[in-house]
Each structure stands twice: as structure tokens, then as C-alpha cells.
Subunit: 223 residues, 2 copies
Amino acid sequence: MPADLNLRISPRTVQQETVDKLRLAILSGLFQPGSRLIESQLCAQLGISRPSLREALRSLEAERLIEIVPNRGPAVPALSWEEATAIYEVRELLEVEAAGRCASRIAAEQVQELEKSLLAFEEAAASHDSMAQVTTAADFYSIILANCGNPILEEVHRGLVARISFFRGRSMSLEGRAQSSLAEMREIYESIAAGDEKAARKASKKHLLKAKAAAKISMDSGI
Amino acid sequence: MPADLNLRISPRTVQQETVDKLRLAILSGLFQPGSRLIESQLCAQLGISRPSLREALRSLEAERLIEIVPNRGPAVPALSWEEATAIYEVRELLEVEAAGRCASRIAAEQVQELEKSLLAFEEAAASHDSMAQVTTAADFYSIILANCGNPILEEVHRGLVARISFFRGRSMSLEGRAQSSLAEMREIYESIAAGDEKAARKASKKHLLKAKAAAKISMDSGI
DNA sequence: TCAACCAGATTGTCAGACATTCTTGCAATC
DNA sequence: GATTGCAAGAATGTCTGACAATCTGGTTGA
């Protein structure tokens, strides 16, 4: 038996469930950026006590998914474009690296998985369900990140992407963005499948820059 | 008055104080990796209630400075070398980028500050106070990170460095490491002061690789 | 119109309680 | 002797209830 196999079964606690539910609510846009969260309301909605809720809120605060100002309580932060840009830049750094590493080390089995997720995105892109588009695109990336050989890279990346989920959802519903996104992702996939590290980096960088540009457009237009 | 100036004064809450104290205790090595933290003991030592403590612990858990296993409670994680390597790799990615950006955008005033911190490290390196060495070296980096123009890069970097503080302390007390570290840092400083982005990246990368190697040695020798 | 003020809402923090789970030492069994 | 089973104690997960400090919005008074 491998020594590092963690056999411990972790019972899901109330606080974990709460963190997951709230995180999902934020990422899916149920809580709009800028809106405040009222402890008593959330307790009632979730059917939990205040201490449990507050623990969950502290976790989300540390993840930067909410902000808690003393005596004002928690709120979903409204990202400025400067902050979003900074996140996109770091994300580029990580994602390009991950794509490159992934290309030179991914197993055949995972390549198939990656292809499958690309097809799933293709289907979503054909529809006009921007929620499904964001989800399937996220799956595609997470397979790449999971196969880059560095779990920290994956972890940090996930944290950053979560913080710009708002922009991702809006930019994906931009006219023609899903289709061009599909083309870029296919290029990434081809490079990785071919084991071409350099091409994978290049394709990944191109995709990121376009995604960022799309996010900028959607932000400027929408306000 | 600039619109983005945040004039809100934030009263420091019990939970913030607690997070800071505990974080410092972990970073300074007061709590050894692997050791478990007992809520009741910490409450008594810190003079706070259990709910406040638990909120603070959740924050630290989200920062990955402690691990909380359901029904077993919090503990300081003992980093494996694989995990440490992964962190060093991402840190390299971020730090090299930061050094490069810093070189091409830092103001003269900040260069002076950087020089001052280099001198402080020089002094610490001459002594044999490895605690002071780690602190002053951390100051040096944080000035670079603060001037790279990307606050997210800075934030993520700080989080990663915190998680390997244990290794940093040990490797710095390695024979001759402080002196060679000083030489590497001086090279970084010179490049940045000269505004030479490429050289700054190169020097920064070299420094990181050596730091990582030193950490490996200290780990292998010390168990 | 504007400033002061007051009531309600909300958060920060604590104390205490109890069920569940983990740990550990000891006894019993093979 | 090694292993299993059990029981007591310790520690955690969660809840209820409470109260002071702070914030918010509207009303009153100048």
C-alpha cells in the first residue's frame, strides 16, 4: 500500500458545506458584486447558526471571494478593471507555464479527457447557454492545470480564476466570443496532444490575451 | 481628494489580532510543523473565546498555514519536499517576473529603499542571527514585489513564501549560505538599479535556484 | 436646507451547553 | 506476546442566547 495514500475519510462538516454553497452562489453570480451579505439572513436561508456561518465567511474572506469590513459585515467585492488586469496578468503567467508543462508530460489517457472536454465546450458554444460555456471552458483548463505536474500552480490558478468569474461570464456572452474562444482552445489542445511545448505556450498566451480583451470590452460596454 | 483613497479606519478586531499573532507564531517557528493546536489551550493563552479563535483558525486554514481535519482539529502542516519543490517553482515564476518588471519601472526613491534593505541584510549576514537574516531578506524581496506594479503578484507571492518559511529559516543557517545569498541579492539589486530587465530576471532566477538547492541540502541533512 | 439626534438593524464577542468523535490506557482473549 | 475490545477522558462540531459597540436611515429642530 502506498504510504501517501490518505485513507482518512473526512465527514463533511456544516462549515464545509456552507463554504461550498456560498462559493458556488458567488461564482454563479447569485450574489452580485457589491452586494452585502447579512448574517442573519444567510443563517435563516442556510438553516445554520451564526458561529458556523461566520467561520465559513472567514474562509471565503481569506480566499478573497468576499470582503469583511469590521462593523459593516461581509460583501462581494466589485473588482475594478485595474485589479482584474492584475489578476489576468498573473493568470497568464501561470496558465502559459501550465500549458507548456502539460504538453511535455501529459498521458494519453488524459489527452482523451481533454479532448472530451473540448467537445463539451464546442457543444456549449453552439448553444447560447453562456453558463454552460463558462463551466465547460473551466473544465478544459482544469484538466490542463491538473496535468501540469505542479499542484500549487493548480491551486493558485483556481483561486485567481474564481475571483474573475464575474468577468468570464459576461465576456463569454459577447457576440462571437464563444466561437473564437473555441478556435483558440482547439489550438491549445492540438499543441498539447502533439506534445509541442512551445506551441502550447504560444497558443495559451494568445488565448489569454484575447480573453482579457473580451473581458475589457464587455466591461466597458456593460457598466 | 483622490476618490480611491480609502479613509475608512478599520478598528482592529479580536479575530484580526488573533490571526496576526498566530501567523507570526507559525512563521517564526514557535509552532513546529506537525504539531497540533488545541483550541482550549490557545483560547487560554490568547485570552479570547472559542468562537473568535475558531474564526481565526479558519482564516489561517484558507491561507494554508494550518490544516484542519474534521474531529481532529488544527495542526501545522509538515511540508514534504515534493510540495516545497512545487512552491519553489511557482515562486520562481512569480519572483522572476516581478524582478523583471521592477527593473523597468521602479522609481529612484524606491531604489534607495532597496539598497537600504540590502545593506540591512549585509549586516545580518555578517552576524550569525539567522532569524534577522530571514527577516531582512524578506524585506528585500517585498520591496521588489511591491514595486513590480502588480499587487496580485505580490499577494500570491507573499502567501507562498509564508508556507515555506520553515525551510527558509533552516537553509539560511547553512554554512556560507548567507554570504552567497548576499552576493546573489546584490546582483539582483545592481540589475534593478541599472534598469536592466533581462539581467534582473536572470539574477533573480539564479538566486531562486540556489535558494532551492540550499533548502534541499538542509532538509536532507536535518531530516 | 442642514445639522443633530434617535431608534432600529447589524456586527463583534462572549459564555455555556451538549452530542459526536478521537485518543489512550487497560483488560481480556487468542 | 500480540491483538482485540472496551471504557473513560479529552477535544471538536455545533447550537442557543446574550449584550455592547457600531452603523444606517429617517425625523426633528434650528
